[in-house]
Symmetry: C2
Subunit: 311 residues, 2 copies
């Protein structure tokens, strides 16, 4: 399939590092560069140096996709589209990312949050292929939810932030949670830093039979319950560092979700809760998916359609 797709420059802009890919899909990566995320200007200049090189090469990119940490302005009709909004990350608030790169390269440019990009990548190439309604959740430093409904990322006045949903607690557990805004929201109970704050240890080092895991699984299952009853996704994928280090959480989450729904709805046949199909590549490939979508939405930019390559 990738043979017929144009070459995309993809940027995953993360809190600590940026991954730049030139390619048309997870099995068709032409080049890959890693840049530490520092101050905005030096980081964007380093990204531009990489993209300039690609654009001057023998196989220039036909579109650009940027999957960014948030909060970000992802509304194409907004004047500040493509920029970083209020953030605790020093210097980045108000930084224009996608507008700057779009002006420089004059190609169709997609911009969304990192988790929405990863979800779109899972929908194109991963464990949600062919589905129009699904969710991708990452459980790591934070908890992010990429919710796809009718084939599109959900969003209205802003992008989703469903890692911060309000949920019920396990009876008798009154630990106040670690979210600076909400205390015991999902992220405040089940993110890596929340687990570390509760136990005083690195979550990756905690044994699978520790009594914290049923509490974490419960919080994540409550998030899944709420996603199921809000959007009725046909599958939910859960990735991120905590899930990778503690895969025993999967059966615990599935059981807790079943208990929570209590027969109220019948979930679709097959394994409803799965790890992402692209693994670590879901995030970086998000930019490629966003670039392909942007190109699809902008038919005026199709003259490059014959720029194909052998994967």
């Amino acid at each position: 399939m990738s043979d017929h797709l144009p070459l995309i420059a993809a940027v995953e802009l993360g809190g600590t590092k940026c991954v730049c890919l030139l390619g048309s899909g997870p099995d068709a990566i032409v080049d890959r560069r890693r840049i530490p995320t520092g101050a905005p200007d030096e980081t964007l200049a380093a990204i531009e140096a990489v993209l300039d090189g690609w654009q001057a090469g023998s196989r220039p990119f036909a579109a650009l996709g940027i999957a960014s940490f948030g909060p970000a302005d992802v509304d194409p009709r907004s004047k500040t589209w493509g920029g970083i909004l209020a953030t605790t990350k020093p210097g980045w608030e108000g930084t224009d990312v996608a507008g700057r790169l779009r002006r420089r390269y004059a190609v169709a440019t997609g911009f969304d949050t990192d988790v929405n990009g990863a979800a779109l990548a899972e929908g194109r190439w991963g464990a949600a292929r062919g589905l129009l309604d699904f969710a991708y959740i990452t459980v790591g430093t934070g908890i992010g939810v990429g919710l796809i409904t009718g084939g599109r990322t959900i969003g209205g006045f802003s992008h989703a932030e469903a890692g911060h949903l309000r949920i019920g607690r396990v009876p008798g557990d009154d630990w106040p949670g670690a979210c600076a805004f909400h205390g015991d929201c999902v992220e405040g109970l089940a993110s890596g830093p929340a687990i570390a704050a509760r136990l005083g240890r690195d979550p990756a080092s905690i044994a699978a039979d520790d009594e914290v895991w049923p509490l974490v699984a419960h919080a994540l299952a409550q998030l899944l319950h709420n996603l199921v009853l809000t959007a009725a996704p046909r599958r939910i994928l859960i990735g991120g560092g905590v899930m990778q280090a503690q895969p025993h959480l999967f059966p615990m989450i599935r059981a807790a979700l079943g208990q929570s729904l209590n027969g109220y709805v019948t979930l679709p046949a097959g394994e409803f809760v799965q790890p992402p199909g692209l693994g670590d590549m879901a995030g970086p490939c998000g930019g490629i998916a966003l670039g392909l979508d942007a190109r699809g939405a902008d038919p005026s930019d199709r003259e490059e359609e014959d720029v194909r390559h052998s994967a």
Copy 2:
């Protein structure tokens, strides 16, 4: 605007009564009939008698819209589209509603849940006019949420059931809730029957300064918090019998929502939480909105475009 719209036959199929409207909008109702909801066959036959009369009259309807109690199969690609799914309502499980009426009248036919219909009506004529992303919530016998994203009702393997979201509790309040499936989900804490079960009195008769209302407002605000962070609606409308009888809940819910979000997102300017603009007519007009949408989606059925009327 209604002058330019075709005439729609609308059916609001409720648990205790059906409202049938012939019209093209809330200000252009040509006829209105009320039928008690009994056994499926007699109820549908009574609806057909009304619609037969309209169809044989001088101004036949160009499309049909049905807003039904749930759970219902609202997936147009499903073999059982237009039918009632597993329900506690005697005899109705498996009843084909919209398919039967579509075959009989051979016009474009829309079918969705009552609360989704009401949301679409509020988007066309009510307090969400012009918005593509908003929610309509009814708080009455149950709690239903019509969530519109990108101008469409949300849904994947099923329609939404966000009245049953899992939420946090007010510290110290450990009443187990009244939902038969989930105990203390939103509906289990804040619906009319839940309030009645907690206090042993009709909610309409409870004084505005009763200490139950902060608990109810808290539960509803947690639902709103979750809708805001999942779908970022630009406005949330709350109607239904409980809200109509206890309008003092509005400022309580707004305050509790602000406390719960705690500055994490900036809500759109203007009054974010409002009563529905159509009041009691949101539900019945839902069928008209669904009929208009179905007609818009089926251009083969446009030969009736010149059937206009003076409102």
